[in-house]
Each structure stands twice: as structure tokens, then as C-alpha cells.
């Protein structure tokens, strides 16, 4: 089968679909693992049941989520070989190493200790059980570090030489690959964004519960004992989410700024495209809105803030920033071909960049406002303070509460904000990957040369259709399940496993000897 498409087009679509989908789960996994670990630690240290219930509740949502992240991750590893075999041959020596390290040093941790955590509530002493989720959390961090080091090498190859006989990249300095500034800044940016994502997720669901309880109170309904405990767990969760959102949001902005500066230097085309800056300008303006015309090489409509782009690129308001046309001409002179060949999709990069920043920063601002208005004691008249198991009042000043209308919308925005970082993350990746085009490995290998020559378009179309369909169905299943469990709220009737199991002294004889005592017949605390 042969469609009138470039051979790499379908493979790119498939990679885009599967990767964006996979990355919906990754940041939630990274952040929820750590936040769940923090909550369990709080339980282990204080013994307060609200922490136990919060741990169980967020842990459940975390598990629904990580299942999808794990299984869609296998596709990522396989499809380099399946769809990008020439790429794999060219970069395997360099790119394969961090991937294998990720499996050996991170995935084994994650998958083994997650099993212990899920099933081990009554089989492990509290502290060891808590350590398990911390190990999972560290595993997710390590895994993101290695995979981002691999991706950074595609953005900015370093620590390699090209073999004269085979024309392939050979690793010469693993340390350079693992510690180049692209890697470090990207890891910082991706992880802070991941924590912003998880924090917004928690803020959204906690807001849903608190606003629901508040509405009941407004309608004069009496809250039961269980509901008050749920409010307690959700209020704590909300505060945790808001604090993390503000810190992570600030970190995302700072690291994003550093990453931008690195990219202005390493991939000027990507940043010029992000700004739809066609011609080199000094000082360069920041574009708020633009409609470009690729064929004519300029924008037809544009709103600009003078000098700001120069500042973003170089930390001063006057220095020149190279434009698309100039960089394209330089690359064409260096690598051959027409300048047009070196211009990525301006529409996608320009708008992807703006949507990333816009949605990400909206969550950050929402976190900031939430953190202030739901404060417990600070600069708050005693009459307006609320108890642990009460829905907090949204306080603007010491004695001034938000109006009912504003209160309603603040809680609603709180719920909505959980989707924003997911959108921001997706556009961030679409921007950075599409902005690198036509290169698969910047300056070394073009995407068109990277595809599997032996795989037919019919095969790629089949796999793309299968993945899209399967992922679509699983998305519906996953979201319905998340909604069900999120709405149900924490099970505050659940009691923590009462006593430490005597790990080293099994209750019966050796396994298989058939002499287990009767008390070994109690049901498992958790079973599939």
C-alpha cells in the first residue's frame, strides 16, 4: 500500500499520538508518587488518620493512573525500533545507553516496589511500607532523568563522534550526555511541570469535594460524621496541592526561562519559530499574537511588546535575536537544500509555545490565589477561622470574605485548573519536538532519513489505527474510573492496619509444608 504521503508522515503521526498520550500519565505519576509518599510519611510520623485516608485516596487515583503510564510506556520503547529503525541504527550507540540505564536503574525500582506497596499494607512494617512508595517516587524521577538525557541528545548532540566507516554516531563521553546543560535544564523544567500537574490534579479534586460540601451547607443540609472526616482529608490535600502548585509553578517559570535561553543558543530556529520572528531584529519584540504567511516569509497581523524577546534570549533589552529567514538561509548554506526545508511549522510552534505558557501559568496563578484565600490563620480575624473538618472560607483580607458569586467561581476554577497543566505539557512537547524539525537529531539526522525503510505505509497505518482506537477506548475507561473514585472521596471508615506484621517470624511453618496455622486464613487487605 502506498499513500501519497512522505514515508515519515504516518510514523510521525503515530509517534505524536502515542507520545502525547503517554505523557498525560507520566507527570501525574511522577508527582502523585512523591505527594502520596509525603502524605504517608505524615501518617507514619503523626499517626493522624486524616493523613492515612488521604494517602489511601490519592494512592488509589495514582494507581489508576500509573497503570496506564506503564503500559503505554512499553510502546514508546518498541516504536524506536519498529518505526524508526534507521534512526535506531544511527544513534543506538549513544541513545540506547540512557534507555537501558532507565530500565536497569529506574523501571525495576518502580515496578517492583509498587507491587510491594499495593499488596504490602498488612505484610510490611509501616516504615518499610512507606519506604516502598518513596522508592517508587525516586524511580520515577530517575526514569525521567534518563529519558530526558536521551531526548536532550536529540535536541543538542554532544559527547559523540561520527564513525568514518559506518557514518553512525558513537558515544565518546557519557558524562557529557548525562550532564550537558540542555539535559539539566530540561529535567528541571519537566519535573517542575510534572509537580504542577499533580498539584493541580489534587487541587481540582479537593476543590470539587469542598465545594460540594459547602453547597450542602448553604442549602441547609446537615453534614454527617463521615463527610466531616472527608472534608478534613480534602482540606489537608487542598493545602498540600496549593503549596506544591505555587512552588512548582514558580520553578516551571524559572526553568522555562533558562531553557529558553539555552534554546536560543542551541536551536535558534526553534525559538525564532516560537515567536514567528521572521527577520533578525535588535531589539527584538515579544509577539503576543501573530498570523504568519510562510510562503511570503512574514506576518500579516501582529501585536508586539518591544524589546522583551531580546530580554528572554539574552537578559538585555537590545541585543539582536536571529529571525527565521536568516537562520534558514544559514542552515541551507551549511547542510544543503533550500532555506524553506529548514523551517518548522510556524503555526504549531508559535501557538504551541503560547498555549504551553498560558495554561501552565494559569494554574500557577490559581494556586497562588488559592493559597492566599484558603489560609488558616495568617492575617485572619479569629471569627473567620475555620476548624480542621470545615470547608475553609475564601478570605481576601483579614475580615473580608469573597462574595457568594466569587466564591462559587473560585471553587469552580479550582476544579477546572486540574486540566490546564495537562494541556500545557502536551503543547510543550509538541512545540519542542515540532520546533526541531526537519531534524530528528539536530544537525545530524533528518526525520525523513530516520524512518524504517522496510515497513510499509499499510503497516504503519494499521498500527496507528490500532493504537488510536485502543488508546481512545482506554481513555474513556480510565477517565470514568478516575471520576468514580474521585467523586467517592476517601473511605474514612477504613482503619489503618493495626499492628506491624512479624515479618521475620511467619505465622506458620515453611511455605509448602502445609502447616500454616488457622490465623493465616484471614482475607488479604488488598486483592486484585
Amino acid at each position: 500500500m502506498n499513500l501519497a504521503l512522505a514515508p515519515e508522515t504516518l510514523a510521525r503521526w503515530q509517534f505524536g499520538i502515542t507520545t502525547v498520550y503517554h505523557f498525560l500519565f507520566v507527570p501525574l505519576t511522577i508527582s502523585l508518587a512523591a505527594i502520596t509518599a509525603g502524605l504517608e510519611t505524615a501518617w507514619v510520623r503523626t499517626g493522624k488518620e486524616k493523613y492515612f485516608h488521604a494517602t489511601k485516596f490519592w494512592g488509589k487515583l495514582f494507581l489508576i493512573n500509573i497503570a496506564m503510564g506503564v503500559v503505554t510506556g512499553i510502546v514508546q520503547e518498541f516504536q524506536f525500533g519498529m518505526n524508526w529503525s534507521d534512526y535506531s541504527r544511527f544513534v543506538g550507540d549513544v541513545f540506547g545507553a540512557p534507555l537501558a540505564m532507565e530500565a536497569l536503574l529506574a523501571f525495576f525500582f518502580e515496578s517492583t516496589f509498587i507491587g510491594l506497596w499495593i499488596f504490602g499494607w498488612d505484610k510490611l512494617p509501616k516504615k518499610i511500607h512507606c519506604a516502598c512508595i518513596w522508592i517508587v517516587a525516586v524511580g520515577t524521577l530517575l526514569s525521567s532523568y534518563f529519558i530526558l538525557a536521551a531526548n536532550s541528545w536529540m535536541q543538542h548532540p554532544t559527547g559523540y563522534s561520527i564513525d568514518k566507516n559506518t557514518g553512525r554516531a558513537h558515544l565518546t563521553d557519557i558524562w557529557a550526555v548525562l550532564t550537558q546543560n540542555t539535559t539539566l535544564v530540561v529535567v528541571f523544567h519537566t519535573l517542575t511541570a510534572a509537580f504542577l500537574t499533580g498539584a493541580a490534579f489534587i487541587v481540582g479534586i479537593a476543590s470539587f469535594h469542598l465545594w460540594r460540601a459547602k453547597r450542602k451547607q448553604i442549602n441547609g443540609e446537615e453534614l454527617g460524621e463521615k463527610q466531616r472526616h472527608q472534608i478534613g482529608a480534602m482540606r489537608t490535600s487542598l493545602r498540600v496541592g496549593l503549596v506544591v502548585a505555587v512552588i512548582a509553578g514558580l520553578g516551571t517559570a524559572i526553568s522555562g526561562d533558562s531553557l529558553g535561553k539555552v534554546m536560543f543558543e542551541q536551536q535558534p530556529m526553534k525559538m525564532a519559530a516560537a515567536e514567528a520572528l521572521w527577520d533578525t531584529q535588535a531589539p527584538a519584540p515579544f509577539s503576543v499574537f501573530a498570523v504568519g504567511d510562510v510562503t511570503k516569509g512574514h506576518n500579516s497581523v501582529e501585536i508586539e511588546v518591544p524589546g522583551v524577546l531580546s530580554f528572554l534570549a539574552h537578559s538585555n533589552f537590545s541585543e539582536a535575536v536571529p529571525g527565521i529567514n536568516d537562520v534558514a538561509a544559514q542552515e541551507a548554506a551549511r547542510y544543503g537544500g533550500k532555506p524553506d526545508d529548514y523551517i518548522p511549522s510556524i503555526f504549531m510552534t508559535f501557538w504551541g509555545f503560547r498555549l504551553m505558557i498560558g495554561f501552565g501559568m494559569t494554574s500557577f496563578v490559581a494556586g497562588l490565589i488559592g493559597l492566599w484565600t484558603t489560609r488558616k490563620k495568617l492575617w485572619l480575624a479569629p471569627a473567620f477561622r475555620t476548624g480542621e473538618n470545615e470547608v475553609p472560607r475564601l478570605m481576601l483580607t483579614k475580615t473580608r470574605e469573597m462574595s457568594p458569586f466569587l466564591t462559587k467561581w473560585s471553587w469552580r476554577v479550582g476544579v477546572l485548573t486540574m486540566g490546564f497543566p495537562l494541556i500545557a505539557n502536551s503543547f510543550g512537547w509538541i512545540f519542542t519536538e515540532m520546533g526541531r524539525q526537519p531534524w530528528a537529531v539536530y544537525g545530524l539526522m533528518k526525520t525523513a532519513k530516520a524512518v524504517s525503510p522496510g515497513v510499509s505505509q499499510g503497516e504503519v497505518l494499521t498500527s496507528m489505527a490500532v493504537f488510536t482506537l485502543l488508546y481512545g477506548v482506554l481513555a474513556v475507561v480510565e477517565v470514568k474510573l478516575l471520576v468514580k473514585y474521585a467523586k467517592a472521596g476517601p473511605d474514612t471508615d477504613e482503619k489503618p492496619p493495626a499492628e506491624d506484621p512479624r515479618l521475620r517470624l511467619p505465622s506458620g511453618g515453611a511455605p509448602g509444608s502445609g502447616t500454616e496455622r488457622e490465623d493465616a486464613d484471614k482475607p488479604m487487605t488488598f486483592a486484585y
Binding site: M82, F108, T112, H170, V466, A527
Partner: protein, 333 residues
Amino acid sequence: MHLHDFWFLLIAVLWTGYFFLEGFDFGIGVLTKTLARDRTERRVLINTIGPVWDGNEVWLITAAGATFAAFPDWYATLFSGFYLPFLLILVCLIVRGVAFEYRHKRPEERWQRNWEHAIFWCSLLPAFLWGAAFANIVRGVPIGPDKNFTGSLADLLSPYALLGGLFTLVLFTFHGAVFAALKTAGDIRHRARAHAGRYGLGAAALAVAFLGWTQADSGNGRSLAALIVALAGLAGALVMNRLGREGWAFTLSGLTVVAAFALVFLALFPDVMPSSTNPEWSLTVTDAASSPYTLGIMTWVAGFATPLILAYQAWTYWVFRKRIGTQHIPAAH
């Protein structure tokens, strides 16, 4: 020993470890329909691998990642060449993983039944497909001078490959039944042993046919030793299973899996992907390997990580060593 030979060994160990571990996982998946009589028994079986299946599957991710790092050409030719079978394996592993995690999360009959179908089929198909894939690897497939697979899907479905698939399917089911006998209590444990006896005989017949064919076709002195170990292990596992020595039966069924894949890798060496078109175009350990620098680094990483992984995975099995019976399964919510 040359570094690339060492890495061939290491990759063989990773794949073999994967089949040893996920072999019984797949077997348990198949047994949920053939051995379990009702939902509670199905849950007993699923919970025997509940805490460990995910960790077992990482052996695959590591095997594939290490193949990518150490033998990029092997990885590229294999994964692009076996495109559609690998797609099917991926789909199965995705659905199967989600099925384990989601099955119990809703009480509706239809929901649970659908995921149980998924667990069965998505265990059965990869158990078959991996055997067929490795049969094709050891026997050779059409590969051109540019190292790319030039055949079609039909080339991957030869009688030999289908026999290989059937062999791993039955062997893994046997391995799973022996594991079930070791890990369950009560009635299901005794029936698991009876099932193991039957699957074991089937696996023995298929082992003679497939491993014998492999040995005759591409074997050598060392692979002959592996063949003997595999057959002896299988016979021993059957005897131990009959005697009710479940720990020994599992050790020996595991040994059979290891020896069967050792045979495949010994028969393969020093090729990694033989070309059936022209032997000169075969991919070998020497020319498919990464640079000595990369292999050296990976050796350090593997040397540090592997003992650690083995230790904590073994600890997991120790923590969850207790047998599970129907009385341990909490009521569905």
C-alpha cells in the same frame, strides 16, 4: 571473552529471565479460564502474581533496551522486521496490564467478565508469539544487504515458527500450572497439579519436536547440552509434580524454560539475526554491536544494578510467599 560476546550473553540472560518470570505469569493468565472454576478461583490465580507481574515485565523492557544499547542493528532489524507480530504483542501487554489493575475496580458483572477475557487472551497470544518470534530469529528470516528485513508476514508464519509458538505456549502454561500448585491452597492446588501433569506431557512432546528440530537445523555441541538439560528438566518437573514436591517441580520447570532459551541463543551465536537470503548478510555479534566504550559503560551499570535487582525482586517473592486460597479473597465490593 570479548565485550560484545559478553553482551550477547547478558542479553540472552535478560530475555531468558523474562521468559522464566513472565512465562508463569502468562501461564497463570491462560489457567484463569482452563483451571479456575469460578470468579473466586480466578481471583486466587490472579493474586498469586498480583504483586510481581509488573516487576517481571520490566525484564522485557530491559531486554529490549539493552538490545538497543548493545546491538542497535539487532534491535532495529528485529523490531522493524517483525512489525505486525510485535504490534500484537504490544496491544496484548497493554490490555493485560490494565486488566489486572482495573478488573476489580467496578462490581458490575460485565465489566469483570470483559477484563477476565482480556487477561486470558492477552496472556495466551504473547506466550505464543514470543516462541514464534524466537523460532524465526534462530532459523533466519529474509534480510537484505542493507540489514533490513525483506520478507512478508507470511515468511514469519512457517510451520517451524508456529511449532515454536505452540511450544512456548504449552511450556509457559505448564510452568504457570506448577507455579499455581506452589502458590495456592485447597482444592485449586490439587487440580493445578493434575493440570500441570497434562500440560507437562504436551510440553514434553512439543519440546522433543521443536527443540529437536532446532538442534538438527542450527544446533551445535553446546546447544545439544542445553537440549538434554531441557528435556531432563521437563521430565524431572513432571516426576516432582506427580510426587507433590511443588518447590522442586517449579525449580525444574523453570530450568526447562532457561535451558530451552539457552539452546536457542547457543544455536544463534555468533549470529544475532541470520539472513535466510544470503548468509553473508546475517547480522553477527561483531558487526551489530555498539562501540567498546558504550559496552564498557553498560557493563558497569549492569554490574552494579543486576545484583541489586535480583536481591529486591527475590525479597518481594519472600514477602508474598504465603499460599493463597479462596478463603483469603476478600468479598468483591
